[in-house]
Symmetry: C2
Subunit: 209 residues, 2 copies
DNA sequence: CCGAGCGCCTAACAACTGTTAGTTAGGCGA
DNA sequence: TCGCCTAACTAACAGTTGTTAGGCGCTCGG
């Protein structure tokens, strides 16, 4: 009894956690621990409520996961779209690509638990959940395809590269950073530059003979 | 009883499944479904035995997973090492890198359920299992670092790229193909060429003015 | 000041998890 | 033929999972 009294006073603010609170916690836990090992009871405990209470806000665990996945894509999509459209009309291809790459990487590594959770758990989640997230995902992919196609038509990109494949390679490579990126070892900003350097110009020392 | 008799005759060869049989099945299931959703009972059923029987060959589920992870790295390590060392001594940097990239991708996409399982589930597995797999992993990483360093010292690679980071980028990008590669849409061989093209020379159309 | 309802809690369920103990059928060497 | 070893099997355990039903307190509009 002393416990519950203490808990009331010391740690629990009287404000409700709410749907968004649960979602934030879930996104963070999914990002940190993956899908399978994060149970509703873990989410509830981290949110300071009990497992059953989650069902006041969500109809099922899958509903939570789908929500997290969708928000994750929306954040990175908005971020990338806005970064590119903020550039002057006559911006060169290289600058545009650097902006898009930077925006994606920033959302993934700095900005959003939702985006990193999406990348982390998408491959672990039941088929039905993946399907529910697909439309949102496709929209972001289309954004990239449009961007890359425009640059290729302009003659800025090599003409023989398949756009779909290029997009898969690029986003795949960027997303893979989530497995090893350590903010203590270097900023996302610097990493973004390195990725752009490599993808734009390659790693071979050019023998301009 | 009819059941068990039928089963005996029709599907179960009288030869024992054995430790290797269980391991093969486990690798395939882990590759296909991830770590969390594959239970010992699923592995047992796919192998045609009962869950408890697995404990004759392995001391725990983690022991199975560690074995799968280790074999996965060893396969890709051997494959890459052999592909590179098979080349003549005076082979150019570009050819060497293409061979290494091709070997890694082939092990991942064509050759081995163990290697693909490793890439797929490493991030989902308990910390202790990851730790057990680390030595094997580090040896493969060192192999790449040695290769890349030698090429850089030779002057074949741009001198300002950090080797560790380059290796992380490269392997990360290659491993990411596992999420979307579809053998019906193109061979691993062709994909390997595209990856080498992009990493070696970049995607920008060169204006050699 | 009172009722409505929002946001949470308690308790339990059935299913599933990894794991253990004890048992058994069959083949091989002595 | 005897006895051992291999590779299974059966049955149960304790814990965890997602999920449901019903109840309780606090806040706010009338």
């Amino acid at each position: 009894m002393a416990e519950s009294a203490t808990r009331r006073v010391s740690e629990a603010p009287r404000t409700a956690v709410g749907r968004d609170g649960v979602l934030d916690i879930a996104a963070r836990l999914f990002r940190e621990q993956g899908y399978g090992t994060v149970s509703l009871r873990k989410i509830a405990e981290a949110a300071g409520i009990k497992a059953g209470s989650i069902y006041y806000h969500f109809g099922s665990k899958d509903e939570i996961v789908v929500a997290v996945l969708d928000v994750g894509i929306q954040v990175v999509h908005d971020n990338m779209q806005q970064a590119v459209s903020a550039l002057p009309k006559d911006t060169g291809a290289e600058t545009i690509l650097r902006a898009a790459i930077g925006a994606h990487l920033r959302a993934l590594l700095d900005l959003s638990d939702y985006t990193s959770a999406n990348v982390r758990i998408f491959g672990q989640v039941p088929q039905s959940v993946r399907d529910a997230n697909l439309p949102t995902r496709r929209a972001y992919e289309a954004e990239w395809d449009t961007l890359l196609s425009r640059l290729q038509e302009r003659g800025a990109l090599k003409p023989d590269v398949d756009i779909r494949r290029l997009r898969l390679m690029l986003i795949g490579a960027l997303n893979a950073t989530l497995d090893w990126f350590d903010p203590d070892r270097g900023s996302a900003e610097a990493l973004s530059r390195t990725y752009a350097d490599v993808f734009l110009n390659g790693i071979l020392e050019r023998q301009d003979s």
